[in-house]
Symmetry: D3
Subunit: 244 residues, 6 copies
Amino acid sequence: MTDIVRVDGRTTDQLRPVTIERGWSDQAEGSALISFGRTKVLCTASFTNGVPRWMAGKGKGWVTAEYSMLPRSTDSRMDRESVKGRIGGRTHEISRLVGRSLRAVVDMKALGENTIVLDCDVLQADGGTRTAAITGAYVALADALEWGREKKFLSQKAQPLIDSVSAISVGIVGGVPMLDLAYVEDSKAETDMNVVVTGRGLFVEVQGTAEGAPFDRQELNSLLDLALAGTVSLTEFQKTALGR
Amino acid sequence: MTDIVRVDGRTTDQLRPVTIERGWSDQAEGSALISFGRTKVLCTASFTNGVPRWMAGKGKGWVTAEYSMLPRSTDSRMDRESVKGRIGGRTHEISRLVGRSLRAVVDMKALGENTIVLDCDVLQADGGTRTAAITGAYVALADALEWGREKKFLSQKAQPLIDSVSAISVGIVGGVPMLDLAYVEDSKAETDMNVVVTGRGLFVEVQGTAEGAPFDRQELNSLLDLALAGTVSLTEFQKTALGR
Amino acid sequence: MTDIVRVDGRTTDQLRPVTIERGWSDQAEGSALISFGRTKVLCTASFTNGVPRWMAGKGKGWVTAEYSMLPRSTDSRMDRESVKGRIGGRTHEISRLVGRSLRAVVDMKALGENTIVLDCDVLQADGGTRTAAITGAYVALADALEWGREKKFLSQKAQPLIDSVSAISVGIVGGVPMLDLAYVEDSKAETDMNVVVTGRGLFVEVQGTAEGAPFDRQELNSLLDLALAGTVSLTEFQKTALGR
Amino acid sequence: MTDIVRVDGRTTDQLRPVTIERGWSDQAEGSALISFGRTKVLCTASFTNGVPRWMAGKGKGWVTAEYSMLPRSTDSRMDRESVKGRIGGRTHEISRLVGRSLRAVVDMKALGENTIVLDCDVLQADGGTRTAAITGAYVALADALEWGREKKFLSQKAQPLIDSVSAISVGIVGGVPMLDLAYVEDSKAETDMNVVVTGRGLFVEVQGTAEGAPFDRQELNSLLDLALAGTVSLTEFQKTALGR
Amino acid sequence: MTDIVRVDGRTTDQLRPVTIERGWSDQAEGSALISFGRTKVLCTASFTNGVPRWMAGKGKGWVTAEYSMLPRSTDSRMDRESVKGRIGGRTHEISRLVGRSLRAVVDMKALGENTIVLDCDVLQADGGTRTAAITGAYVALADALEWGREKKFLSQKAQPLIDSVSAISVGIVGGVPMLDLAYVEDSKAETDMNVVVTGRGLFVEVQGTAEGAPFDRQELNSLLDLALAGTVSLTEFQKTALGR
Amino acid sequence: MTDIVRVDGRTTDQLRPVTIERGWSDQAEGSALISFGRTKVLCTASFTNGVPRWMAGKGKGWVTAEYSMLPRSTDSRMDRESVKGRIGGRTHEISRLVGRSLRAVVDMKALGENTIVLDCDVLQADGGTRTAAITGAYVALADALEWGREKKFLSQKAQPLIDSVSAISVGIVGGVPMLDLAYVEDSKAETDMNVVVTGRGLFVEVQGTAEGAPFDRQELNSLLDLALAGTVSLTEFQKTALGR
């Protein structure tokens, strides 16, 4: 799989350079500026004591997420969704994906009646923005939970984080399964798949789409192999960023 | 897998009763009222000669879809999205899924500069509405294409349909992989997966989500096995409905 | 008036075939799929114990209605109002008309602090959708009230229904007053009138509009005669459907 | 009918004082500030040479209307529809009614490819705002048509106005049919009816609603008698205002 | 400065004719129809006992404002913001300006937990609508406060009004600083400035904008001189209107 | 003025540390990440050949701006305007201010039929976001114009930039005029003023608002002195960033 040279010189199973600037924001309870190559996403976690009214009194917390792209994060400028007055389907879809992915590693009972909102704003986009968002949001989340513990909104022994979580894109480009597609690869992929995996190696989401040509079982398996290996690396980056 | 008895007496690998009323609508160029058990979806296909302005002149067609639920298709009444003034994320997500799934089996060149809009309106919901929508929309689409051929918007030898497509949900409920979840099963599933498969057995979409607990590779494989078998049956229902 | 033959062979004072499928929905507390010829409207009644906050504590109930058309209920596809992000004037107008019409036969004191929402969704449209909606909604409403009585949300002796109600369109087409206009007649009518009448023969709404040419008092009287006769028949269909 | 004394001392068949200030606006091609008692509506007619694109090339014109209330035109302040971001059903309904009423007296062929927009803004509301709006809009319309003739957008011999039009409310209050309801009467009326009548005495719209109790044929006839007499007077006020 | 003759014959430091019809509305607690030449703004003040929930319990009141233009207040018709479904930036900006300006002369403690909403609706526009709105709104506000005192919502000795406030536009047109620009002057001004001044001669707002050419310190000073003189006159008109 | 010590140790006439990272974005034709202390704004300039249709054929260009804040740029999280479905008044106001400020230094004739959109997204907010936005946007604009020249959308000798522009806030806090207010100062200022000044020292905008107490002429003059001195420094930062 490794003698095909990709547009940026990577092997097919190689991630782009990953950086995680933990604590980028002075304001948020947790934050990370993550980059997968040229893709840069600012992830903040806002911790609020209390839950929405419809959830109150159940002793459980809530984690939700919002994803958005700056208008000129892309090669040609997009209109702002605030100006259009409505959020597009893609934005909705990714916000929901990020929220579900992070909720999968949080024990809502242990969180108690606290709410965490994860904001993932894409400052620069070059493919893989949703997977970078999930991977960075985990770091922000972990810090916000620590903040909540320091502020006594969480008890000292509460363990709301039951695992870590990261995500990566894989796809079939020109017949070849590849890891972590850059935009130019993604736009010509026959099949594109986003895979969300916990630190222990379990699947949270598998979202495969045949953009160009339907795929068979063997291709699916190759993509899953790549994704599992990629998320092992991302988990290491997260641990390093968090100083663990 | 077959000695567990489900809430409605099915085995774990059994579909609910499927019916397809082809040509339900007097108005649309193609239509089908499909039911998966108590789930009923009215699918219509609207054929328009011509394409949106931004696509004109390329000799290619366009297929798109919109999904919606009647406010009292569910057990308790939902507010209408038209009244709320905005479409929710779930609706967007499913509309996009249906559209992508049907486009995967259409040769846009062979369709020529024609547009087909698939409307999938859920009249009654009991789990699996998106998979019923895709399966029924295929029947409506096939008829709309025949209509276009009769009206000479398509040439006699054009073959825009390159395959058939159907979809089914699978999930892990109480630790057991099951086919075609009813609402009561879906709402307690640890993992829920929607799989879109062509008549030839290739994947178009694999959308697995760990609602309750992350899943491992073996569970993923069991779910895919169930889904592939289920879509073989659905393909037969489609053929029968279309008289082929 | 009876020797003019209409487009579908009816006499000028003849209704189209009327069918009422009571209890079409498994989910709603009351429901009816009504057809006036090719016009088909699914009417559901949702019973909720309690009233909106601004009405609470007055010992009175509330009945409201929402009307909508499926995008391909008509000959050429209409855009969805949810997609446009706003409800059109016609939809608003008819929703309000249906709500007022049903409220006219409900004793809000006897209903107690309960709310009934009537949803009238047009599955297929061929003229007279609003009158079919009112006529079918009455059947759904009656069943929802029975449901409320069984569930003890209404006392055994409460009589919230003070009369029945139905509605029919009339119009002047080519100078001739006619009952129950099909779409092709409606679209060329000089005057179009919708009349809502109780089972006892009293008017709830008279909405006459000169689309083409203003009308005189004698024409108005002919239209009212036709409408009163038509609603007598509709009342019988309702009684039969309800098994009374 | 005349020995019942109403809240403001009128007889049951008496209009409130009517004033029409023609040409109130310096900007509009036609305008009138009309009052029915304390109800004051500013009506402007905006004449534009040309028609919307979808109407072009047919040699016909277009007349449309928009109705709105100032937030403090009423006894307690209402939220602005612009602030709420959506137009309410009542506003839509009345805008459509005003538009249809004025179109009923315009020959669109004679108008040629010109557009007239009638804006009816309620400055103060005390019942009968929609009927005052129609009555005043006619005066503004007539002046805008003269303006169009002077500017040569209409030929010298074109006669786009085929009749005049005015409107009045009638209702049954405490069992008694009454003309031109003030707000305090309207709010307790059993039945409320708005009637739009041409200068020649033909009906354009008859919109009767049983707010409190259904009405019988005889009551309907009494209301129509009152309305026809009232619009004869209004027609005179219009003629005087227009100096005819 | 006085030998330049302006389009309407005024000197450069001369206001247009000002009229203030106090109590124009029968409904509002305070109102004024103000005109600056052809510019006419209807200002109403709505007094409500109580404050929005988020302000309750602090013993303080609230004053806010909304500004809007009728669609045909201008030379060519504008679309309604309610129809467009969104409020434009200019409307927002002016509403906020009017609100801030009036709040600057109200002692919120002395107002107590009462709310006043100022609605400024432009009936006819010829430049200076925002300054007329502020000047007229003050008169409406003063009357609404008196109403609140009479109704005992304010104590007899409470003095919520700590000063009066008025506003005027100034600008540089053809190199010459001028007071109270009419529309035709405003549209060709190099610099346009709106100045809000209290009765005691203190600034509340200074909003200068170089539409055509940046301005220097000396020009700024000339404009401020003109504005201060103009607001002295406006203060007199307010006093006269209020009978003080 | 210099012996008062401010919250962060500055003198009253001292700017916070200013940094300008020119070319922060790989995608935009011009960009700058500017910081005024903890306030960070990402400014991008998008150059498009051509102008909106309503401007075409006049040989002139267009410059416009959009300002927005990330939801967690502030101390407590704000709802996204895209989620609320409408843009707030403050956002509108600042977007318009930024656009006007930059247009003041562009010769639209020299720009030719090209459009530049300036996006100013606040990543972190600590007072002065609008002034940082204007100051940074100028740098992005200058680079985008160079890009346009290289791409031959501008002729070699065209000089669209007629001056530079920067902006700073000033205010009276505790009776003392101060330069470049941090959030904690701004929120307790009696008067707050934003001043936009060209490189040559001419005013483009003067926006002074008495949030707490009206101000007199002398205070206004002190504020303008501070602002003029501050913008001289900002002009130097801009020159350095642009390598001039």
